[in-house]
């Protein structure tokens, strides 16, 4: 069937080079707004933290803001914000990112700040104890003191996976967090925060030659250290359905989430991409299959969403990962029935294929989401840094709308056919609060 509408693409330029110390650099200039985005991504995440140190990768991310070779505690924040910029960092399963968005004239300052902590953060007992307290409050806000905390991103991995790297709680237990030492932090930095284990991306309003000189100036003398060997976290897929149930004392209504393994997002990219589209065919908006059926027709759920990767970072996660569906149910909801209906809808998709126009409209909407994200300098710097780190291909960001648009109905059907009940891990949250 002919496409009714051409999917547009972006043409952000991409310059790549590697410094002598191994730091890989991506520059993507665009002078349409006087702002720059700077992202540094390290190839270490939740999956690499040691047993007995759950939550350590995230705790360490906090420590990277606590001062560095030439900067006192608080200086990083003040220098970024005092330049009119914003900053943050985040810890994922397979990487940890640090970033700033600033007026264009502050680019060199941001590069200085990132280089300084790449040379070494100030790891002190006082800062460690302070940030353990802060992280505990973060976990209380996001997990312990609110309904559906950690559902399903912390609750489903232990049901689905066997090995510690894939199964454990990435926010960490309070016991493990409190056991963390300055020596642990030093060892973690030495092992994982090598220049050769990182990428730097700069997006926005700058001159490539000038930015290249600045990067040489500030990162050129970061000592080279060997990058660790990339671990393989693969483990066998499920051979029988798995299921767990827990009660959330703050949840007034029930919920259910299921996950199925998907192909290697990097090694089997061509087979993986159809799952990205499938998740949207199933759950993007009122006209998607599962929303129409479960929300509108059966009214067996009040909301349902689908995505890939436990943290929703489908182009920033490595193998093994999963396609997830998560739903909230009305009072008295029946998770068995919901799962049966999902199976029924997947069967229908596999046997009857898609309806005319269903694939094209879903692809068009995904394109809008992708393009919209890249409109922000950080929406280019961050994913390009991650794509460079994991694939050596930051330009993939430009190609994604087109590649999504080339996924065929046959590929969607093939993907849907793998989402079988015996391959599924499910966690149900029971309401523990009065509605």
């Amino acid at each position: 069937m002919a496409r009714s509408r051409k999917i547009p693409a972006t043409k952000y330029p991409v310059e790549r080079f590697t410094l002598e110390n191994g730091l890989r650099v991506v520059l993507t200039p665009d002078r349409s707004a006087p702002v720059v985005g700077v992202a540094v991504v390290y190839d270490v995440g939740i999956r690499s933290e040691p047993e007995g140190r759950t939550g350590f990768a995230h705790l360490f991310e906090h420590l990277m803001f606590q001062g560095s070779e030439n900067l006192e505690k608080l200086a990083h924040f003040r220098h970024v914000q005092g330049a009119g910029g914003t900053f943050n960092g985040s810890t994922h399963l397979d990487y940890t990112d640090y970033f700033e968005v600033l007026p264009a004239g502050a680019l060199e300052r941001a590069l200085f700040l990132e280089a300084d902590r790449m040379r070494g953060p100030r790891l002190t007992e006082e800062n460690l104890l302070n940030q353990i307290d802060v992280v505990k409050e973060e976990i209380r806000v996001n997990v312990l003191n609110r309904p559906y905390g950690g559902f399903p991103w912390l609750k489903l991995p232990p049901v689905m996976f066997e090995t510690f790297p894939n199964a454990h709680d990435g926010y960490g237990s309070f016991g493990d967090l409190e056991s963390a030492t300055v020596d642990d932090a030093k060892a973690f930095f030495d092992r994982y925060y090598a220049a050769g284990n990182a990428t730097l991306a700069v997006a926005g309003d700058f001159d490539v030659a000038q930015a290249t000189a600045m990067i040489q100036r500030h990162f050129g003398d970061v000592p080279a250290r060997p990058a660790p060997k990339l671990p393989d976290f693969d483990e066998p897929g499920l051979t029988a359905e798995r299921r767990d149930t827990y009660t959330d004392r703050l949840a007034p209504i029930g919920g259910v989430a299921s996950a199925w393994r998907v192909p290697d997002p990097i090694g089997d990219f061509a087979d993986y991409l159809p799952f990205v589209v499938l998740a949207e065919v199933l759950t993007d908006g009122e006209a998607s299959r599962l929303v129409e059926r479960l929300v509108q027709r059966d009214r067996s759920v009040t909301s349902i969403g689908g995505y890939i990767g436990f943290m929703g970072d489908e182009f920033g996660v490595r193998n093994p990962t999963a396609l997830l569906l998560q739903a909230h149910m009305p009072p008295g909801g029946d998770s068995e029935k919901v799962l049966r209906t999902v199976d029924e809808e997947l069967d229908r998709l596999v046997h009857d294929g898609l309806t005319p126009g269903e694939l094209e409209r879903t692809q068009a909407r995904i394109a809008t989401h992708l393009l919209r994200d890249t409109d922000a300098v950080l929406g280019r710097a961050l994913p390009m840094a991650v794509l460079e780190l994991q694939r050596g291909n930051p330009g993939l960001l430009n190609d994604l709308p087109k590649l999504i648009g080339e996924v065929t109905e046959a590929q969607i059907v093939t993907a849907a056919a793998t989402l079988r009940p015996d391959q599924r891990a499910t966690v149900e949250v029971l309401p523990g609060a009065a509605a």
Partner: protein
């Protein structure tokens, strides 16, 4: 270890504002279009005056706006929008109904047609409305377990008394009582172009985009209604209101302080004083209770503007066992900024942050659309940013200290704490007078 020096900042270029093309249609709808071609998309924002609309019906209306027209079901609407890469959603604040959306730039005309059908030919089909009603009720039940929601609800009541702003979320039982016919009549009565503003930003020709809007929305007409709310009452400081949430592992500390609207001469100095106190990470309060003491993760303050009044809001989730000390530090930092002038370098840092983030906010289509739409609903245009930037750039230490003294004194605060009363009542009572909720 060699010492390295921080590179200097290259001064910002002159503030460049995008051109707003504007036309007010005979129906009273104002259309503003801005060309920004960075990505081949278009952003849409529509704000319709909705003050005094009955809250339960208005809330469900916003949730049900896309449930159907005379010729389209909710699924048709969503599928037709998707065809042009589009999506629309609606929300409500105490002053307005707000429609937000985006699409591939080539889909603007089609998206406007669908928006027009929703506005001029709404069906509110029974089954779809009932579905949305049940979803909304469940959503509200979940909100009633969220500490941030409960604390805000208590604070708004305490701030606004009998003013309509006092209640911004309906009760689940009130929603259950709303019927589709009630939505139809509210729509006919209030979803009117009079005073409404449509903003279009993206890879568009502004004149042609406005022509398209005029063509699609020309038939959207309706009675004008002047529903200006009375000015919000002045805050009445009093005892700290303690709301019990047994077993809570954190306490939600909330304060409201007086503030002024964006056009007031004191606004820029107050904005800077707020930043210095707690309005960004590098503020005294955040550096104190997070980076020094570890009491909390994301404390923040901001100035909230409604049509009938503005307020400075202070919020932190703190560990239950340090609730008293957290209030102590908060009162100390408020007292300090209200009593002593800030240091020159504190002011310069806050000033650069305010001016810089203003540029960051305008650097995307979505950011521009949100800013232009928000300003327009207060009768302002982006041109106001020039004036506001100049006010931020020119604010003196004396003006900032005076604004802090006038508005940020802890004696002027309305305070609510939600938490495990059995554990936090005594520590809080050591510091101030308490009134149980």
């Amino acid at each position: 270890m060699s010492t390295k020096t921080l590179p200097d900042l290259v001064p910002d270029a002159k503030l460049k504002l995008p051109k707003e093309v504007e036309r007010t249609l005979p129906s009273g709808l104002t259309v503003i279009a801005i060309r920004r071609t960075s990505v081949p998309l278009v952003e849409v924002r529509l704000r319709v005056p909705f003050s005094k609309a009955p809250l339960p019906r208005a809330t469900l209306l916003s949730q049900s706006l896309f449930t159907g027209t005379g010729t389209m079901s909710s699924v048709d609407i969503a599928a037709e929008l998707q065809k042009v890469g589009g999506g629309l959603s609606a929300g409500l604040d105490p002053d307005r109904l707000l429609v937000t959306g985006n699409a591939l730039a080539g889909g603007l005309d089609r998206m406007l047609e669908i928006l027009a059908a929703v506005l001029t030919d709404p069906a509110y089909p029974k089954q779809e409305v009932v579905t949305e009603r049940d979803r909304l009720v469940d959503h509200l039940q979940v909100a009633l377990q969220q500490p941030a929601h409960l604390a805000r609800t208590a604070l708004l009541k305490r701030m606004y008394g009998s003013h309509p702003y006092a209640v911004q979320t309906p009760e689940p039982e009130q929603i259950r009582a709303v019927r589709p016919a009630g939505l139809r009549s509210l729509h006919a009565d209030r979803v009117s172009p009079t005073g409404a503003v449509l903003v279009l930003v993206g890879d568009i020709n502004p004149e042609k985009a406005i022509d398209a809007a005029e063509k699609a929305l020309g038939s959207w007409t309706g009675p004008g209604r002047d529903e200006n709310l009375p000015a919000a009452p002045a805050l009445e400081p009093g005892p700290l209101l303690l709301v019990d949430r047994p077993g809570s592992v954190q306490s939600s500390l909330r304060m409201a302080l007086p503030a002024v609207p964006r056009t007031d001469p004191s606004y820029a100095p107050l904005q800077l004083a707020n930043l210095i106190f707690g309005g960004y990470f590098s503020s005294r309060w955040v550096e104190n209770i997070r980076e020094d003491k570890g009491y909390t993760y994301g404390p923040h303050t901001s100035i909230e503007h409604y049509l009938a009044g503005s307020a400075l809001m202070v919020a932190a989730e703190v560990a239950t066992e340090v609730t008293g000390p957290s209030l102590l530090e908060t009162l100390y930092e408020l007292g300090r900024i209200a009593s002593l002038p800030p240091r020159e370098e504190e002011l310069e840092q806050a000033r650069r942050y305010a001016l810089g983030t203003l540029r960051l906010g305008m650097s995307t289509q979505a950011g521009l659309a949100g800013l232009a739409s928000m300003y327009a609903s207060f009768g302002l245009r982006l041109e106001h940013l020039r004036e506001h930037s100049a006010a931020l750039a020119g604010a003196t230490l004396d003006q900032v200290a005076a604004a802090a003294a006038e508005f940020m004194a802890p004696s002027r605060a309305v305070t609510v704490v939600l938490g495990d009363a059995a554990r936090i009542q005594a520590p809080l009572a050591a510091l101030t007078t308490i009134e149980p909720a």
